[in-house]
Amino acid sequence: MEAIVEQFFNIPIMQRALPLLLMGLRQTALICLMVIPLGLAGGLAFALLSRSSLRAVRSAAVVGIDFFRAVPPLVLLIFVYSGLPFAGVRPSPFTAVAIAFFLNTSSYYGEIYRAGIESIGLGQWDAARSTGLTASQTLAYVVLPQAVRNVLPDLVSNTVEVVKLTSIASVVALPELLYSADMARSVTFNSSPLVLAAAIYLVMLWPIVRLVSRLERRIAT
């Protein structure tokens, strides 16, 4: 029991690691601020392209969504980070994370938007168009607001997944929360910094996980 406390809940070590972890947390927040809006925008583009009137565009979008959902995000990230230099482009860890996350999260958000847009009946389109709205106005003012509302739990829960996913940026040495914690662990030979990082993730994400559960239940009934 003492060994467990010493190894996992060592308060002095946590205190020493805290400043480093807070710096990591800042990086994590920066990554989130970049990849979540990028993913939301890219996802919308994917979803709209997958409903294009041109058959070629439509199938290209669906193939893209399926492809990037099939490749594990870590594989995509390492491919971008270590593969692109062979094509003459050397991305920084931050750029590599931006590119890999854009492709991965856009395809997930895209699939969610698509389900949302499909949940809106064609009558809504017809009614909106008959009031004189153009197709893009109909999309922006009539269809999307209802579509987003229908898939809100999925959008929020995917966003939780994206925040959790930022931890893989540690693999390409981007000094975010997990990277900092693992560095503190390797210096102190003690797992307490990792426990502290886990606690920080919990504090950030637990409320949202609870919220998602409640949203899901409200929509279901």
């Binding site: 060994a3 467990i4 190894q7 996992f8 399926d66 492809f67 959902r69 099939a70 490749v71 594990p72 995000p73 870590l74 594989v75 995509l76 390492i78 491919f79 270590s82 593969g83 062979f86 094509a87 003459g88 939780v160 997944e161 959790k164 996913l165 930022t166 931890s167 893989i168 540690s170 693999v171 997990l178 914690a181 693992d182 662990r185 030979f189 003690n190 797992s191 990792l194 426990v195 990082a197 886990a198 993730y201 919990l202 994400l205 637990w206 949202i208 996980v209 609870r210 559960s213 899901e216 239940r217 279901a220």
Partner: protein, 227 residues
């Protein structure tokens, strides 16, 4: 480096493809083994927990909810590192593939418990009452009346979640599990060429595209039945 030819040489070098194909194939076998083990233990544990929760014994339910919330909120990579580096310090030694299997099973179980529980809740109370009034006990009503109806609804979300979590087998590379990504990055650093990475990516696409497509078709089919 000449353009065009240089690109092909860096990403699709035939000699390297031939040399590293056995390694990537070995990685695929490891990925499939771990993924299969995770799917079985994760879904079963999730179902057991959901059933345990349906007895509505307060301390038990509270513990289950705590477990589910924690494992849904924590990044799997944090758990992998915590278990991999933490357990040896308290005298428990697990091989790296066992660590990956354990962590991913627990994460999958947490998500599955939540989905199964929502399924059980979605069965109207009248079904319970009708089943009990025919003389079935609590367990009989659960097993023969409630679960068969609940589980149908859970097929699409369970499938999608299972796909997402089995893709996390790639995290094993960080602790040295010899799965596809690990084989690919090792081969890449030995050969100084991106061809093995390309092969690894293709291997994942080959494994997971069919599953992703299956997941989507299940979703449409079950959504239609729910009507």
């Amino acid at each position: 480096m000449q353009h065009g030819f240089g690109f092909l040489d860096a990403f699709f070098n035939p000699g390297l493809i031939e040399r590293y194909l056995p390694d990537i194939a070995k990685g695929m076998a490891v990925t499939i083994e771990i993924a299969a083990a995770v799917v079985v233990t994760g879904i079963l544990l999730g179902l057991v927990l959901a059933i345990a929760r349906s007895f509505r014994v307060l301390p038990v339910s509270a513990l289950i909810v705590l477990f589910v919330d924690v494992f849904r909120a924590l990044p799997p990579l944090v758990l992998v590192l915590l278990v991999y580096f933490g357990l040896p310090n308290v005298g428990i030694y697990l091989p790296s593939f066992a660590v990956l299997w354990l962590v991913l099973s627990l994460v999958l179980a947490a998500f599955c418990e939540e989905i199964f529980w929502a399924g059980i809740l979605s069965v109207p109370k009248g079904q319970w009452e009708a089943a009990r009034s025919t003389g079935l006990g609590f367990v009989g009503a659960l097993a023969y009346v409630v679960l068969p109806q609940a589980l149908r609804l859970t097929v699409p979300p369970i499938t999608n979640r299972t796909i997402a979590i089995t893709k996390n087998t790639a995290l094993g590379t960080v602790i040295g599990v010899g799965e596809i990504l690990n084989q690919a990055t090792t081969a890449q650093s030995f050969s100084g060429n991106a061809t093995p990475l390309m092969m690894g990516a293709i291997a994942y696409v080959m494994l997971f595209i069919p599953v992703v497509v299956l997941g989507r078709s299940l979703e449409t089919r079950f959504a239609w039945r729910r009507g």
